[in-house]
């Protein structure tokens, strides 16, 4: 049905956001900061579900148009709890606008990463298509000035607006409510100076864009000896984002996860707590019953081989720089490809511009720091780094007759960023980042279980990248973003004298994406996604072998056939994708998309059509579903001659999902989703003599996920996630179905955080996961050639290890120190000291069996200072 009116959004609407969040108060009148917020800046609510109003029939007949200024109260869950027309305009417009606005759904306003209630003004424009509203050429700045600590309005404060060259252009005096307003401002970046009696001066910068109203709240300190400007509490442009287009996208809230027990303050460690994500002792990411190799972590738009440092202790990203952690467990967008499992998309935010900030975190495992702030009016920077110091003491913990640690284990990482915003239409960012892990040890004597494990044993993984990002808005409807990253990497493995892998190389990634709004109902997103890897490959050892369903893969190296390969080669994997976000009817969003990939290593083209849909049944209920095809290239070594099979084809998966999102009350959001995945052309170990691998495998994965998330408040947060699933594989046509090696029937996570008083944070996380399938050993054969017993296995994955259960606790206490804060924390992993089964061990002839348990109770202490 053609719509004869439209609600002017984005630049055409004046949006006034007045954040009502009440910060906790410290003794000195500064924000208490007991949660050690990631950032002090406040983010206004973002509209995620827009509802068209019914154009009043009489007004339409009379060709009347109107703009209704609404005042909307949005709670901390993002729901609209109250709407009123500020200045009624009559003719039925007020009622229609109010009715529609009551159905809006927002992402809640946030201070740092903590959701807070907010009140905003929203102008709902009723326009007839024949007379579209002219695009505005000016913007507005409106806000309030409050006394920090009490949040009392400061009347009589002088707010001065200065142009880029420092010339005062306008000034205003706050009224009794502390409010000020500048209208008809030319689009530009302005400096704001605030002077109030008995208050320290405050300086800030604001970007004014045409057609936008920048709404700010300034909290001004009482006079203090220094001239240090107070931190800007809030300054942001409220914009309306596009509605969600993913069937399932699980976004992690930074502050909520920094406080989560068991993560050691690293939100990325909480990925495995999300619905659909399995548990791996090696911190590999298992999404909806898929192999870890079937899923990908994208960092700033480019894949990274490894998200976590050695042992999964921590990620290589400074947590306080994180902007988003999005998990797509299935039916993901066409902009992602080459994988058939799931996607973890990690992004960094821009550096802060409201003054210089710093953070130091020292704990028993590693230390890290972050420094960020503005350079000039348009430039800002951030530098972060982390280094472990196991290497300083671990050799004292290792028995001397066992091993000598030569460089073990050490990791470090870094991120440095320059952000440049020359105009409201452009955003540029230059980054360098990298990660380094190294473990080397020299065994004092050969391992009894496998004499090939002798001498040196080690692994080194490192990558360094330079990345450039340019985002440009041509106009209100067209946006282009290009990301280019490139750099060297190295991956070395050394297992005694029998296995040596050295893979230095270079990699480069280019993503160029256009986003075009064709109409209010249709957006198009298209782009190029190009990956290139160059390897200087050197290998000596046994050929490739798939691990899943193959217990022999982890058996001794001794006696295995060895191959040798030295080669230099490049992998070019270009792709193009196109996706439409179409809203054919109120509440319904359809996202058809397709992606074409070329895989130079196996000389194959793939075409993956996908479709997802969301339908907002009521203001609190959304139905969603998706279907799509996903293709995956062989890994680097799988398609190599000698080592793998260059004639492999891409593996494929069909994803189907159907679910519902339900708001329950003001704080609870419940999501339930069923899924089914069909896999074919899965790469498996070949039974054909002379062939290492082939595509004979197929798979099926099905299950359901339920999550219940309590929207975080200043006091508490929590969530429950539960996954019931079954993942099966059939390696060859003449073999029976078997369980996938990481099949976990039940995955339950319950996490909660609670703030006691003003400065104590307590949190707990409990996890229960069904034990992984195990292939039992039913006998053994003595191999006189190697002097080792070779196990004889029963039915593949026909038994399970015992279930995993773990309780993690975290306590954090923080103190305000002048304008900064100091926090001390204890993160206790496995607080119940449960001996979880992580594997099985056997004596030399497999006649005795024992359980290998996971890590015992491990307390982690740390201190963090923040400015």
């Amino acid at each position: 049905m053609p719509r004869r009116f439209r609600a002017a959004l984005r630049p055409a609407v004046a949006l006034l956001a007045v954040v009502l969040g009440h910060p906790a108060h410290g003794q000195d009148g500064t924000p208490d900061g007991t949660a050690a917020p990631i950032a002090n800046a406040l983010t206004p609510p973002k509209l995620v579900t827009f509802v068209d109003a019914i154009y009043p029939a009489a007004a339409k007949a009379a060709s009347l148009q109107a703009q209704v200024d609404l005042e909307m109260t949005i709670d901390a869950t993002g729901r609209v709890t109250e709407v009123r027309a500020v200045k009624p305009v009559g003719n039925g417009f007020d009622e229609a606008a109010v009715e529609a606005a009551q159905k809006f759904v927002f992402e809640p306003a946030r201070r740092g990463d903590r959701a807070i209630p907010a009140r905003i003004r929203y102008r709902y424009a009723f326009e007839l298509p024949a007379e579209p509203a002219p695009l505005p050429t000016t913007g507005e700045l409106e806000g309030r000035v409050l006394a920090r600590g009490q949040d009392q309005a400061l009347a009589g404060a002088v707010v001065t607006l200065l142009s880029a060259d420092g010339q005062a252009t306008r000034s205003a005096v706050t009224d009794a409510s502390g409010t000020f307003r500048f209208q008809e401002l030319s689009p530009a970046r302005y400096r704001v100076r605030i002077a109030a009696k008995d208050r320290a001066p405050l300086a800030a910068e604001e970007e004014i864009a045409a057609g936008e109203l920048t709404s700010v709240t300034y909290r001004v300190d009482a006079n203090r000896p220094s001239n240090e400007p107070a931190a800007l509490e809030f300054g942001a442009t409220a914009t309306v984002e596009a509605p969600p287009r993913e069937v399932t996208k699980r976004s992690l809230s930074g502050d909520e996860l920094v406080r989560m027990a068991g993560t050691r303050g690293d939100p990325l460690r909480a990925i495995e707590y999300m619905p659909g994500v399995g548990r791996s002792a090696e911190a590999e990411i298992i999404i909806r019953g898929s192999s870890p190799a079937d899923s990908e972590v994208e960092f700033e738009g480019a894949p990274v081989y490894r998200l976590y440092h050695f042992g999964g202790l921590t990620s290589f990203v400074q947590p306080r720089l994180l902007d988003k952690i999005d998990l797509y467990p299935g039916n993901f967008s066409a902009r992602f490809g080459r994988k058939m499992g799931g996607i973890v998309d990690v992004g960094l935010r821009d550096p802060r511009t409201d003054g210089l900030h710093g953070l130091i975190d020292i704990n028993i495992v590693d230390s890290s720091f972050l420094v960020e702030g503005p350079i000039t009016r348009n430039w800002s920077f951030a530098v972060a780094a982390k280094r472990s110091y196991f290497d300083l003491f671990i050799d004292k913990l290792v028995p001397k007759d066992t091993a000598q640690l030569t460089a073990a284990p050490v990791y470090w990482d870094y991120q440095a960023m320059l952000a440049y915003k020359p105009s409201t239409s452009d955003r540029l960012r230059a980054m360098v980042y990298g990660s380094y892990d190294d473990l080397k040890l020299i065994l004092a004597h050969p391992a009894d279980s496998d004499p090939s494990l002798r001498g040196g044993l080690g692994q080194k993984t490192a990558f360094h990248r330079v990345q450039l990002t340019w985002q440009h808005k041509y106009n209100a409807a067209i946006e282009h973003q290009i990301d280019i990253s490139a750099g060297p990497f190295v991956f070395d493995i050394n297992v005694g004298p029998d296995v040596k892998l050295e893979v230095p190389g270079y990699e480069g990634f280019l993503r160029s994406e256009w986003r075009v709004r064709m109409s209010e109902q249709l957006r198009l997103i298209g782009g190029l996604d190009i990956a290139y890897n160059w390897f200087d490959f050197s290998f000596n050892g046994p050929p490739s072998s798939e691990v899943d369903g193959n217990p022999n893969a982890s058996g001794p190296l001794t006696g295995r056939q060895a191959v040798e390969l030295h080669d230099e080669f490049g992998l070019l994997r270009p792709a193009a994708y196109l996706e439409a976000v179409w809203q054919p009817a109120t509440g319904l969003t359809l996202v058809p998309g397709a992606r074409v990939d070329y895989l130079s290593d196996v000389k194959a083209w793939t075409f993956d059509p996908r479709l997802t849909a969301r339908y907002q049944l009521t203001s609190t209920t959304t139905l969603k579903g998706g279907v799509g095809l996903f293709s995956q290239a062989p890994s680097g070594s799988e398609s190599l001659p000698v080592l793998g099979n260059p004639h492999l084809r891409p593996a494929r998966a069909q994803h189907y999902s159907l679910g519902v999102e339900q708001e329950v009350g003001a704080r609870l959001k419940v999501t339930a989703e069923g899924f089914y995945k069909r896999l074919d052309h899965v790469i498996v170990n070949s039974t054909v003599p002379g062939e290492n691998l082939n595509n004979d495998g197929i798979g099926r994965i099905y299950g359901a996920e339920v999550s219940a998330k309590l929207r975080p408040t200043a006091k508490s947060s929590g969530f429950l996630s539960y996954t019931l699933s079954r993942s099966e594989r059939r390696d060859h046509a003449d073999e029976p179905w078997r369980l996938f090696s990481w099949d976990q029937t039940h995955i339950l996570t319950i996490a909660g955080a609670y703030r006691v008083g003003r400065s104590w944070d307590l949190s707990a996380t409990f996890r229960y996961v069904t034990g992984n399938p195990i292939t039992p050993v039913v006998g053994s054969v003595y191999n006189a050639r190697t002097d080792l017993y070779t196990p004889v296995y029963g039915a593949t994955n026909s038994e399970r290890s015992t279930a995993f259960a773990r309780l993690d606790l975290r306590v954090e206490k923080s103190w305000q120190v002048r304008s900064g804060s100091i926090a001390a924390y204890v993160d206790v992993q496995n607080a119940l000291n449960r001996k979880n089964e992580e594997g099985r061990a056997y004596n030399y002839d497999y006649s005795q069996i024992g359980v290998v348990s996971g890590l015992p109770l491990i307390p982690s202490f740390g201190v963090r200072g923040e400015l």
Partner: protein, 314 residues
């Protein structure tokens, strides 16, 4: 990345953690607590130093079985399997090239290597079977699993040996295990059958630790040979390494294995292993004899063994 490698590395690291205290504790593999098979030696009939037969030759295979005390009577069954048939599988046992049953100690069989036409280009033969310990105890194979139990109810030891066939004129010779041994720096001679170590051998005090056993190997035991490897395939010359397995009937060796690597250019190389004597409770007043067995293997199927003994006194 190769999944196998990654997994193996994780296994190695896991093993490292086990050592650090996260895994179960078993008796070390180097401690002989029951009757065990610890090696097999291939000798071409008429040229016992050669371990690489050619088609038409007869090869003698001797199995080394050791025990904490006197080795009990044995019963055994072996089958020479057609190339690619498998090892202890029912298929091999159902249609072997040859089958051997016996009770001799040590087990010793003679195999006539089939002609090239029968072998079909195979580069090795597979010898599989099972050994049982005890009087009148013979292996009885399960037709479904191919695994064997002993007729006396005991647990059999399933065994397999790959017998490489000689390619061209590149023969492989068995290494020599008994070059020179030392115990705590003193020469340590091989016992004779009648020797009582508590009369003639070295004597150590129960509970004493870190006794050093030195085993000198000769560079001639590590023969050069050629392999075809790489892409495109290329012939390269390499050299054998020596894997030395060491066992004891009491006390604790710090490792079951020692190695002389292929890259070792020395004319002679001495490997050392340390041994902790058993506690006093295990030593009788008159002393307790402890036997050490050393089995040396090259990379290509050659093997040899020797033994030493000493006396532990309270």
């Amino acid at each position: 990345m190769t999944n196998t490698i990654k997994n193996t590395l994780l296994l190695g690291l896991s093993g490292f953690l086990f050592i650090a205290g996260c895994g179960p504790t078993f008796d070390p593999a180097s401690l002989i607590t029951n009757t065990r098979v610890v090696g097999a030696r291939i000798e071409v009939d008429g040229a016992p130093d050669r371990a690489s037969p050619v088609p038409g030759e007869t090869v003698n295979v001797t199995w080394l079985v050791t025990s904490p005390d006197v080795t009990p009577p044995l019963g055994w069954t072996f089958a020479v399997c057609a190339p690619g048939t498998g090892t202890s599988s029912t298929a091999c046992l159902a249609a072997p090239l040859a089958r051997f049953d016996g009770t001799a100690t040590p087990p010793r069989i003679s195999i006539l290597v089939p002609s090239g036409a029968v072998l079909g280009g195979a580069t090795s033969l597979t010898l599989g079977g099972a050994i049982c310990a005890g009087v009148d105890s013979m292996p009885q194979f399960d037709s479904q699993t191919g695994l064997a139990n002993c007729s006396n109810g005991g647990r059999s030891t399933a065994v397999v040996l790959d017998i490489p066939l000689q390619q061209g004129d590149e023969a492989n010779h068995n290494p020599i295990a008994d070059r020179a041994f030392t115990f705590d720096g003193l020469a340590w001679a091989a016992p004779t059958a009648a020797d009582d170590p508590c009369v003639q051998g070295p004597r150590v005090t129960a509970g004493s630790n870190n006794h050093v056993i030195g085993n000198t190997t000769d560079g001639s035991d590590r023969e050069p040979y050629t392999v075809v490897t790489g892409d495109p395939p290329a012939v390269t010359t390499t050299r054998e390494s020596l894997q030395i397995s060491q066992f004891t009937t009491a006390g604790k060796l710090n490792s079951q294995f020692s190695f002389v690597e292929a890259t070792d250019d020395n004319a002679t190389t001495t490997v050392e292993v340390t041994w902790d004597a058993p506690e006093a409770a295990e030593a009788a007043a008159a002393g307790a004899a402890v036997t050490f067995t050393f089995v040396v293997r090259d990379d290509r199927g050659g093997a040899d063994w020797t033994s030493r003994s000493l006396c532990v006194t309270p």
